[in-house]
Symmetry: C4
Subunit: 232 residues, 4 copies
C-alpha cells in the first residue's frame, strides 16, 4: 500500500546523508497521504545504506502501525502530533544536524540575520523549552509535538511561514508541503544556523536584518506576488 508515497519518503530519507545532515541513523523523514489519513515513516535505527522503499512503515494519525515489518522511528509520536496540529503540512523531518543541534543545545532562537534565512523562514527559528520531568515520563515523544504546537500558538506563528523549530538540548524538526520540501527546509535550517553562529562571532553586536529586507526576500519567493523561479 501507498507504494508511491513510500518511494517518495524513502528518497527524502536518503537525502539526509547526501546533504550531510545525519551521522549513522540520527534522523527520520515522514510523508502523509491526507486523503487516506495515513503517513509513512522511516523504521527505527536502520542504517541508511541498507534502507529500502519497502522498509517504510505505514502509520495512522492516532499513532498505530497499519503496515510494515519494522518498528517505526522512535520519534514517530512527535510526527503524529505535528500532522494533527499543522493540518496542511505533508512532510516532517527530524535530524541532529550539527549546527542546528548546537543552537538547540544552546537553547536559543536563531535570529534572522540575512536573506538566506528570510528567503525561506519568516522571522526567528523558535527554540522551545525543555519538557518537564512529568511531561517526559508521561509521553516524551508525543509531548515534544504538543509543546511545539503550543509554542507556535503562544507566539502566534504561522507554521507555513516558519517551517522549522528547535527542541532545547535536542535538535531540529522541519516540515513542508511534502517530505521533499521538509528535507529542503532542513538543509536551509542547517546553513542558516551555521551562518548565524559565525556571524555573531564576526560581530558580537550584530542585529537582525531590517524587517523590510526580510519582507522583501520572503515575499519575492512566497505568495501571490512572488517572482523568484519559473511560473508553473
Amino acid at each position: 500500500m501507498l507504494e508511491q508515497l513510500k518511494r517518495e519518503v524513502y528518497e527524502a530519507n536518503m537525502q539526509l546523508p547526501e546533504y550531510g545532515l545525519v551521522t549513522f541513523t540520527w534522523g527520520n523523514v515522514s510523508g502523509i497521504d491526507r486523503e487516506k489519513g495515513l503517513f509513512v515513516i522511516k523504521p527505527s535505527g536502520v542504517a541508511y545504506d541498507r534502507l529500502k522503499p519497502e522498509d517504510m512503515v505505514v502509520m495512522d494519525l492516532e499513532g498505530h502501525k497499519v503496515e510494515g515489518g519494522y518498528r517505526p522511528s522512535s520519534d514517530t509520536d512527535t510526527h503524529v502530533v505535528l500532522y494533527n496540529c499543522f493540518a496542511d503540512i505533508g512532510g516532517v523531518v527530524h535530524t541532529h544536524s550539527s549546527w542546528a543541534a548546537c543552537w538547540a543545545q544552546a537553547g536559543r532562537d536563531i535570529p534572522c540575520y540575512g536573506t538566506t534565512h528570510a528567503d525561506y523562514i519568516y522571522g526567528s527559528v523558535p527554540c522551545v523549552r525543555n519538557l518537564t520531568r512529568e511531561e517526559i515520563e508521561e509521553a516524551y515523544e508525543r509531548n515534544t509535538g504538543v509543546l511545539i504546537a503550543d509554542e507556535f500558538e503562544l507566539r502566534d506563528l504561522d507554521h507555513n511561514a516558519t517551517p522549522a523549530v528547535l527542541c532545547k538540548n535536542h535538535g531540529p524538526f522541519t516540515w513542508g508541503k511534502d517530505a521533499s520540501e521538509a528535507v529542503h527546509h532542513a538543509v536551509v535550517l542547517e546553513e542558516v544556523a551555521r551562518m548565524a553562529a559565525r556571524c555573531e562571532a564576526i560581530n558580537p553586536g550584530v542585529k537582525p536584518a531590517p524587517r523590510e529586507l526580510q519582507d522583501k526576500h520572503y515575499y519575492r519567493k512566497h505568495g501571490a506576488d512572488a517572482y523568484y523561479g519559473q511560473k508553473q
Copy 2:
C-alpha cells in the same frame, strides 16, 4: 544566438557548486558581449544539475529579455546596473557563499589581513549599507546595483582592483574580465572571508597587513611589472 558566450556562462555557473559556493539554486553568474551590448545569465531557480547551456537567458543592458525560454535570475537587474556602471567588466557573480555571507550579515568590511587577500583584492572588501524601505519598494534589485556603484565612487575605489563587494544582511557580488574570472574572484573572496574571521578569533587585536606587503603582492600579480605566472 551567442552560443559561445552561453556555453562559457553555463560553465561558469556550474563551477559554483563545484567550488562549494552554492546550496540549491542560491547563486547566479552572467557574462557579457560588449560589442553587441547583450549579456547572458542563469535562469531563476533552476537546479544546477538540470541546467543546460541553451537554458541561459539573453538580456540587453536596459534589463529586457532578448531571448530565452526561462525567466532570468531574480537578481538580473543588479547585474544590469553593474555592467552599466563598471564599463569594462565582462562577468558578474552573485552567491550566498557561507563565509562571505556571514561578513555581509555581520555588516562589516573584510580587512586585508594577508597576502592571500592582497594577491587579488586591493584593500578591504567593502560592505555596503542596507537599502532603505523606499529603495527596496521602488526597485530592490536595481537599487542594489546603484548602491554598489555609488559606494565605489564615494570611497574612490577602483572596481578592477577591488572586484568584490558585500551587500549588508545579504551576500557577495564579484566580477571580473569574464564570467570565469568573476567566479575565480568569488572563490578567493570566500577563502579570504573564512581566513579573516578565524584570524580575528586567534588574535582579537590583529591589524591589517602592512601597506607595503599588500602592494608587493598585488603588483607582483597585476600591472606592467607583474612576474607571477607565465608570460602570455
Copy 3:
C-alpha cells in the same frame, strides 16, 4: 590464528579514515577474544591504504606479542591495561580525531549538552590529568591505561555507560562490546565534541541538559526498557 577477529579489527581500523577520524597513521583499533585471552591490534605506523587483515598483530594480556610480522601499535600497552581493568569490553580505539583532541588539549571534560551525547554516553566525557614526569619515564603507555582506570574508579563511573575518555594534551580513547562498536563510539565522541564547542560559542552561559532528559535518551537506547531500533 584468530583470522575472523583479524578481519573484524582490520575493518574497524579501515573505518577510521572512512569516518574522517584519522590523518596519516594517527589511530589504532584493537579487538579481543576473551576466551583465548588474546587481542588483535593494528601494527605501528603502517599507512591505512596499505594495511591488510593479515598485518594485524596478536598480543596477550601481559603485553607480549604472540604472532605477527610487524611491531604492534606504540599505544598497545594502554590497550592491554584497558582490557585488564574493564573486563567486559571487546574493542578499544585510540585516535587524534580533531575535535575530541581539542578538548583533550584544552584539558576539559565534555559536558552533556544534549541528546546526541546522552543517546550514547551517560554524563560528561572525563578528561584525565597529565601523567607525572615519573609516570611518563617509568612506562608511558601502560600508565596512561592505569590513569584512565583509576579515574573511572575515583569518579565512580560505569565504563559501559561512559565508553570514552580524553587524555590531557593528547587525545581520546573509546571502547565497546567489540572493535566495531568502539569505532562507533569514536565517531559519536567526535561529533559530541564538535557540537559542545560550538554550543558554548553560541551561548557562553549554557548549562548541561537536564538530568531527566539525559536519562530518557540514554535509557530509551540502553537497558531492559530500551525501545530504540529493532528487536533482535
Copy 4:
C-alpha cells in the same frame, strides 16, 4: 635531466590539492639533488590539473634556471635561501593552507598544546616578523628566506626538530628530508594550527603541554631511542 627527482617533486606537488592544502595554484613544492647542487620546483601559476612531471623547472643554488620551458614559482628565491641555510634538508613546501595562514595573519607562534604537535614539531611553530619596506623592495622572496634562517639562529632552533615556520601576514613554509616529507609536515602543520585555534576557544586559559610529555612524544618518533613505526 633529473627525471626521477622531477617525478618525485611532481607527485609531492599533486599531494597539496589531494590533502586540501591549496586553492587554485596557491602552493609550491621543491626537492633537491644535493650531489648535483640542483633543485626542481613547480612552475609559477600553472593549474594542478594540467601539471605534468616534465613541467618541473630545474634551478641551481644561486637561483638561476638550468632547465625548463616555464618560469619557476615566484617564491623560488625563498626556496634557494632555505636550501643554502638549512644544508641537510631535501624538500621545501610553501602553501596558503587555511588554518596555518590564519595564524600567520594573526602574527602568532603556534604553541604546542598536545602530542599531535609534539609527535612532529619540537616546541612552538615560530612566526617571523614582517619584512621592512626596504627588505621588500630590495628582494622580497630572497629576504623572506633570509629572515626565516635568521630567526631560527636567533631563537637557537634546530630546523630538523622544527620543520615549519609562519611568515607574518602571509603563510607557512615547511621542509623535510625530501619533497614528500616536506608535504607530510605541511599536512601536520595545518592540522596542528586548526586544533590550536579551536583548543584556545574551548579553554581561553589553556597552557602548552608539559615539557616532559612533549619530549616523550617527540623522542618516541625521532632519534636513536625511537620506537614508533617499523624498523627499517
